[in-house]
Symmetry: C2
Subunit: 246 residues, 2 copies
Amino acid sequence: MKKKNTDLVFHEPHLIKDAVLLVEEYPKVPLTVDCVIFGFEENKLKVLLIKSDLEIYVGKLSLLGDMVKNNEELDDAAYRILKERTGMNDVFLDQVRSFGHPSRHPGGRVITVAYCSLLNINHHELKIHANDLHWHDVSTLEEMAFDHKEILDVCYRWLQKRIQEHPLGFNLLPDKFSLRELQNLYEAILGVTLDRRNFRKKFASMELLIDINEMEQDVPHRPGKLYKFDFEKYEKSKRKWVGIDF
Amino acid sequence: MKKKNTDLVFHEPHLIKDAVLLVEEYPKVPLTVDCVIFGFEENKLKVLLIKSDLEIYVGKLSLLGDMVKNNEELDDAAYRILKERTGMNDVFLDQVRSFGHPSRHPGGRVITVAYCSLLNINHHELKIHANDLHWHDVSTLEEMAFDHKEILDVCYRWLQKRIQEHPLGFNLLPDKFSLRELQNLYEAILGVTLDRRNFRKKFASMELLIDINEMEQDVPHRPGKLYKFDFEKYEKSKRKWVGIDF
DNA sequence: GCAAAAGTGTTGTCCTTACACCCATGC
DNA sequence: GCATGGGTGTAAGGACAACACTTTTGC
């Protein structure tokens, strides 16, 4: 890893005995994790943000982030931050990518690894309001602290793609849900309107929704049927898709 | 970013004036980039590897990696390493994800960001052979140094998905290529066999191949037509796909 | 009875798949 | 002339898009 191509070619490489000494020579950088936590409420996609507590970003919004501790696994750091900020631990987090522009942080070079999650706002009341933690509409985002707007945009596009290929959305609906709720969710995240009949047919043909023979309660219109998602069947039937499409 | 939820709630947060002081308190970690460089030759997918120069990994294979320099952008580090090792700079690199298990490196904690590339072996003769740099068959990989086998597996799956959705493959074919060469490429990367007629129909219907009215030369069978890929048309026609499929 | 959303089917189009024969070239 | 891969067409099935009316409930 450390040999440079200025070394003579065809030498037997001398082996490095002490890996610790080697690593000690590497430049070291501060490392953080930023969590982009999307939630859904009132048929709108929201994202969990705080106010930055850096003076130069006064009034600007920021993602939930924190340093990664010594010897802390990246995934663990993301789950820890999510738990510290929201009290939740039953949420899936996915690493999206890392951001390392040298001037992305005003305090000097800081690398950050972005994680993305999607959860049901009504399942997780915010008990902590430090730094004005709140759900913010995704569609009305102004300037943000650091490069957090860019990170959020990347994660939003990632989420839009992801939700079309994976049943992410069901973690964010109530356990029992109507097809209308499901469709609202997809429309909100993808930013499109979908044909209701075709949407229903699509999910009917997948055969991954379990009709639990219950109806919506207390709705001001004809109640719809309620379904559960068949996670077990989904796991068994994950197909390996091969097809060229660009 | 630094406030803990043990702070009293509903306080006006005190603003941090000096971001540099803040960042100085963050733990710092060594950061590397590892490049997973796939190439194609003799109808086989290969990957560029070296022999590890760490004594505890003697004889084991390793990805092309190096430290990220102070104030070096992550992407720049990846391109630099690719250039240093292979002399190339006309190659696309994509960041795949970061790996940060605390014990992934025997010299202590090192975070690495994996980048992936795909190139034409015959366009880029290896002039450097330090550390036994060579193209290795992807299908016959044994144990590797560090967690490089895991990184390679993740990048391979990433590549398989990517090549179905983006015209990556054309960077690795000759400028003028036959449909057979194109199909060999897809079959090698996806690890499947494809119906020749349907494959050709697929690309014909995309209308992204330019028939240049030339034929293969010096082949021991009926020569095939040669095509170029219409990158310009592709860029213009990138479609935003919406469809649920899992 | 009115507002609001649930529920439902058909048709045309396009894409995908499976499959077999003749053609051009090098040797 | 034989071996090798190039080139082509069709039929069936499945997926998708477009589209309108009746039903159920709360108020």
